[in-house]
Symmetry: C2
Subunit: 668 residues, 2 copies
């Protein structure tokens, strides 16, 4: 291993806690750490993965072709693990997550949706027969599926989808059709040139009646020749901000026929004669949506951990400005403004990971209740997953961009890996539900809960019970600067915001507005209420989980994790200070001492910052960053990567002779 | 012209004011509008400019080659205008700005720095003889220059630059040298493969003594062969977030010699025998920095206007969700949450343009004073330009990203032109001075001013006079919801913040800390104080200028512009509410009615939103956006652009046979 940068060495020497202890704690035990590292190493050992010209120099078409090449390597590994019995249909998501985390194909995989959406749709919505027919071939990757729901003109409002699936009882087939340009499916990952099958969501018509949207398994390309089948119009939707290896596609149908048994019929059915049999419960599909949204929160932890690792290590290596004449320039990590940019982002990695894990466990419990027919907690969990997805993605995007900007000009270089990390992460603010729309879904649940409280309704589900407590208790006691009190402050804020919104809406409805118009007029405040609810959940989960987790850790680790919890809480209190000033008794003196506390926490975390990012255990092959490598050879790597630019392969570019020289001579 | 989208037609019909009147008002008169349009049309008429495959599909190398090809077209036009006497060395920046605005080469120009930095450096820092020697050739583009200051290891701290220029009195030459890897010049635009000359900033050594950084004209490539000259190590720094046509380069020297008269010697000189003659005034160079930063603020107006035009028009065309059963889906522009995202950004275009124009005029006045030897207002203007650059770039970047996200998935497509607009604009948060560093420079001036006020010092310069007034008057009167009072609120906030910082620092210095350590500990708050100062300047300039400008306009236009001013002011009051709650008498009831006012303003601006963006007069050829075109054919254009993806040129990509098929068959 190359020599390690002296400043980074010193940082690691003065770290107050054992870094491995933290890594193992966050993984959930030494076994889990071992397992994760094994999977990552399998991936990393595929050295050829990182060979050749860096992706950012390729053309759009080459990026796709490279992504296909790499996909078959990654998913070939998945298949090998399957064959070796190391992964099953029940844990393949974990395995996949580890492998993808280690692969760092920053343009994304055109085969990913096959695992993430196509197979789960068959598992969740297919009958036993359909599962038997399709899953083995999907599992062995003999067919590759995509998922086509969103249309060119339709995203959020699923009821507005235009693609039709009309049942023809004579041939016992569905006829899929795209009646307009806006009805073209748009965005399906891998749909453009890669998949040969897709789940298609369409309006079901039978016996002349529309029964709303249902899912169908549709073959789109010939398995032998890969040619689009007759009646199918399919292709690539074009270049995007990032993720240009995913091959998002469009798909249109010209009266395209599929057999009756390719409608996924676990919940609703169309019988041979065209009779429609309704689903027992239309809410059962919510479970899958909750699952996907928690997975997104984990993805965000990965993206943000990467960005924070890069920015913190680089800030330890980078020196700029003399603070005392004659002394060496300071590490930029010593500037309070830099700490203020990076440490809240660092704390957020821990906060989000712990909250998502806890929510994951809760979801599994609720899912078992669901399967046993108990739907009581579904709305609560759905509301929770909505706001957690929204806040985790928007916080992550904005923290990553802050980290990137904190690396100055070098953070603008692709070789830092920060631009791609941002471009990939920010996509999640939109996919699987636009963040504003999701926060309004959470708000709808909160408003309903609030009305139950006002009507003195019965038992509340656990995560919103605090609203009643806050209503009863109010906020009249003197403000105290503590984590518990900050959490309580946010509870009161959420309670007061939702109460005000409900009151405003009732007033507006009473004055003659429709409910939806009243809702629209309150929507900016409703979004704020949902955000406050999510802050309550994250802050309270984070602090209580860390309290539990650190009961058995070393005192050194306990201390630093407590500091992380405090920093995160105080940061958000100061960020949402106007709410606390409005709805609690916090006064100017409290605010001043809150700020002092915040600045003290930055100083306390300073010596452990590098240790806290090292604990994420992101190997250089996963970071793929000139600025963030473990050895801190940032400048050397920047130059090494620059020399890979194809422009540097020849001393004079041909455009000099063709364009520049004639121009310089006044001949152009 | 194609049929215009019905919704956009309706929007334009119900616009309450005359759109052309607003365009002309913002241009500064009908003559200016005519002139601008003429220049833009010259550019647009170069139809071949937009031909061929869209830039986002090209490889990195092809992007550069395309940018060279387009550069010689654009700068060929500039030269033609010069020859026709339509532009001179005094107004070429205006002409250039119009042409570049119209060109929409989103990857940037490798020749731009020649005009923006190379020529101005010679004009500002060269002697008469040097100007006579170099300017004619530069003006005619017989040579192409870059500007090399930043080094791999040195950006903000110019005194820390490592490149040396050592005078050799025997040969009467300077010897340029790069002693370390970190001393390599890094970032110069066009420096990689395009320029054959560059300004180089280096530490000047003569007679064994270092005299700090000075500028030199350095030839880097042979004029005939374009080969790098012996002793020069030069190349491309590699791929970036955006602006990949600019050809940012690195440059290293191996004891490379240049004649004595290639040091720019207007201010300081090195005589033939090596005697160093100091500059009369070291601050004279600040003038050029102020100029560049105001230009950046204008650039930001262009970027943001583009993003807002795209997002507002698309939001009028896009319909999503039924608000009443049976009714058509709503235009998304009708949702309050969407208005809340877009209208403050729209207002910011007007606010920033007017503030930058006013600052530009003030700067010209001060520049004349400067040339007459009066440096009194230089620190003030410098402080102002610093914070205006920082706030205009960070506001613009964050508003553009909000606009982009407000367009949902389609805003993630390159064909919307929103991703590139963001990538290009956000670069300005870093170049020409990192925003945090710049805000701290403003804060340094404010802290100094505050100490003068406390010591009862004499006359204050105009833009900070309010600090004394606010100190004397304080904030004890009842809060009023008005623009004037919001401006006064921000004045008090800035005053209180800077007062607290100065007090904290004095306390810390008294307790034994060095000034720089005390400064560092206050720096997060100092940044906030500088931001508050900038808000004061923008809000007060915007409201008072609009008051003046609308004295002679139609009452309809006056009304809508007043609404824009009000919306912008109320938006920022709510965004910085915690400051107002801490430092003014605003109470909960005031806040509630401020919010009601804000929501009313959104509703008032709603019918004029499309008119307000149409008034930016950005032609489709300049917007280059599927979502934002004047005719609103968003979906048609999305599909048309998708079909240009090279992946759609063939029904089956060759990777199917090479990788996918073997994988599907289990053979990989």
């Amino acid at each position: 291993m190359a020599k390690i940068n002296g400043d980074l060495n010193k940082e690691r020497e003065r770290c107050s806690f054992n870094i491995s202890e933290l890594t193992i704690l966050m993984d959930g035990g030494p076994e889990k750490t071992k397992e994760r590292r094994e999977r990552e190493n399998i991936m990393i050992s595929k050295k050829n993965f990182y060979d050749g010209i860096p992706e950012e120099y390729l053309s759009y078409k080459e990026k796709y072709e490279q992504a296909v090449k790499k996909s078959v390597i990654v998913f070939g590994l998945v298949r090998r693990l399957q064959e070796e019995g190391k992964t099953t249909i029940h844990n393949y998501r974990d395995v996949l997550a580890n492998l993808l985390r280690a692969s760092d194909v920053s343009t994304g995989f055109p085969l990913a949706l096959h695992y993430i959406m196509f197979m789960p749709a068959i598992i969740n919505q297919g009958t036993k027969e359909q599962q038997a027919q399709w899953l083995p071939r999907a599992w062995d990757c003999n067919i590759i599926g995509s998922y086509a729901q969103t249309e060119l003109g339709h995203g959020t409002f699923i009821r507005g989808l235009e693609t039709t699936a009309t049942y023809d009882p004579i041939s016992e087939e569905f006829v899929l059709n795209s009646p307009t340009l806006t009805s073209y499916k748009w965005w399906g990952g891998g749909l453009g040139q890669t998949a040969n099958y897709s789940i298609v969501v369409a309006q079901l018509y039978t016996k002349g009646e529309c029964h709303g949207v249902h899912s169908f398994i549709v073959q789109v390309r010939d398995e032998e020749s890969h040619m689009p089948l007759p009646g199918i119009k399919i292709g690539d939707i074009g270049s995007k901000f990032a993720l240009n290896g995913i091959n998002n596609g469009f798909l249109g149908f010209d009266h395209y026929r599929i057999p009756r048994n390719q409608m996924l019929m676990k919940h609703a059915q169309v019988l041979e004669d065209g009779t429609y049999v309704k689903s027992r419960n239309s809410k059962l599909n919510y479970g899958a949506m909750v699952f996907v949204r928690v997975v997104i929160a984990f993805d965000m932890v990965n993206y943000l951990s990467k960005a924070v690792t890069i920015a913190v290590r680089y800030s330890a290596v980078r020196r700029q400005c003399q603070r005392k004449a004659g002394e060496p320039e300071s590490q930029i990590l010593d500037y309070l403004t830099q700490q203020h940019k990076l440490f809240p982002a660092l704390a957020a990695c821990y906060a989000m990971k712990i909250t998502a894990s806890k929510l994951w466990d809760t979801f599994n419990t609720v899912n078992e209740e669901l399967l046993a027919g108990n739907l009581e907690r579904l709305p609560e969990i759905h509301a929770l997953a909505c706001c957690l997805k929204a806040i985790s993605t928007s916080d992550t995007a904005s923290f990553i961009e802050t980290c990137r900007l904190a690396c100055g000009g070098h953070g603008y270089m692709h070789s830092s890996n920060l631009p791609s990390t941002y471009g990939n992460a920010v996509a999640a603010c939109t996919y699987e539900g636009d963040n504003t729309v999701l926060l309004l879904q959470t708000a709808r649940f909160l408003a309903k809960t609030w009305q139950e409280i006002e009507n003195d309704g019965g038992k509340l589900t656990p995560t919103v019970e605090y609203l009643r407590t806050a209503k009863v208790r109010g906020y009249s006691h003197k403000w105290v600067n503590s984590v518990e009190n900050i959490v309580y402050g946010f509870q009161v804020v959420c309670m007061r915001k939702i109460a005000t919104c409900v009151q405003d809406m009732q007033r507006r409805v009473a004055s003659g507005l429709t409910f939806e118009d009243a809702w629209n007029l309150s929507s900016v405040q409703l979004v704020a209420a949902a955000e406050a609810h999510c802050r309550v959940i994250i802050l309270s989960t984070f602090s209580s989980e860390i309290r539990g987790m650190t009961e058995t850790t070393s005192p050194e680790l306990k201390q630093v994790l407590n500091q992380v919890v405090e920093l995160y809480s105080v940061y958000w209190a100061l960020e949402r200070l106007s709410d606390l000033l409005q709805y609690t008794t916090i006064n100017q003196k409290d605010v001043d001492s809150l700020r002092v506390w915040y600045e003290e926490l930055l100083a306390q975390l300073r010596p452990n910052a590098v240790g806290l990012v090292d604990a994420f255990d992101l190997k250089d092959e996963m970071l793929q960053s000139t600025l963030g490598s473990y050895d801190g050879r940032a400048y050397e790597r920047l130059m090494e990567e620059a020399l890979k630019s194809p422009l540097n392969a020849e001393p004079v570019n041909h455009t000099f002779h063709k364009y520049l020289k004639p121009f310089l001579r006044g001949k152009l």
